[in-house]
Amino acid sequence: MAFESFSDFLAMGTHGHYVWSVYGISLFLLVGITVQSITAKKSQIKRLRKLSLGKQNTHAPD
């Protein structure tokens, strides 16, 4: 353990705001691209599903 207390850990010496802002921004960007990738895939699956189900319905009567 490199820190005496939790507040020490937050302060990071005098460099707390540098370290935490880097980690914050990075986390935001990494989570952002992950979420974007997952939702894009899901929404595309949903769209294709609707499309193929819709086709089945329209073809059903004949």
Partner: protein, 248 residues
Amino acid sequence: MNWIWFHKLGSPKWFFHWADRWSKLIFIFGVSLFLLGIIWGLVFAPEDYQQGNSFRIIYIHVPSAMLAQSCYLALGISGIVSLVWQMKMAPIFIKSVAPIGAVMAIIALLSGAIWGKPTWGTWWVWDARLTSVLVLFILYMGVIAIQNSFDDTRLSDKAAVVISVVGLINLPIIKYSVDWWNTLHQPATFSIIEKPSMPAEMWVPLLFCVVGLYLFTVGVTCWRMQTELLIREKRSNWIKAEVLDSGV
């Protein structure tokens, strides 16, 4: 030598199933490694004797800078693969990995700039590493821009392939020229990362972070490629079956 894996990789259907099975595992494993490395680095690694705690930015900066370079390398290699073997998956890979590489480059740039403030006293120094990451970022934006500029998929694929191949060949030249230029103009600045010796408590977590971020990238790339496949192969039967099977 067995080349079956190579041909399998070129098959969209095979890839889709492979990604379905493995991408989640790879992603989760990667994220856990990365988090482990970061927590280790933030909480347990010792303070740097020169830079103090701002040194802990290394656990973000180095992995993302490495990923930014590796992604471009992968981009260029798959560009060559696409030119030589006309492999269908290669342009899909390029399209999927370019945004991730761009994000990695942004992270490396921002973390470098923020790290620069306590180290050099300014947000930006024209240091060799930061400058080449900046160029890398512009290269990524070029690939992304050219993919989004054409309506025709075939043309945008070809354009992205050509640009990434040219980029791959240019990358070492750019890197070398920036390094050379840097020694010319900035002989005095000390580089933020290169150390004569880094103790194991410092570099082992860094290794965790690097490997973790690589795996994270592989996982996310798989999903993006699957999305791209779902868009492009929407008329094929196996995609239709796939879509109906999967529970959203």
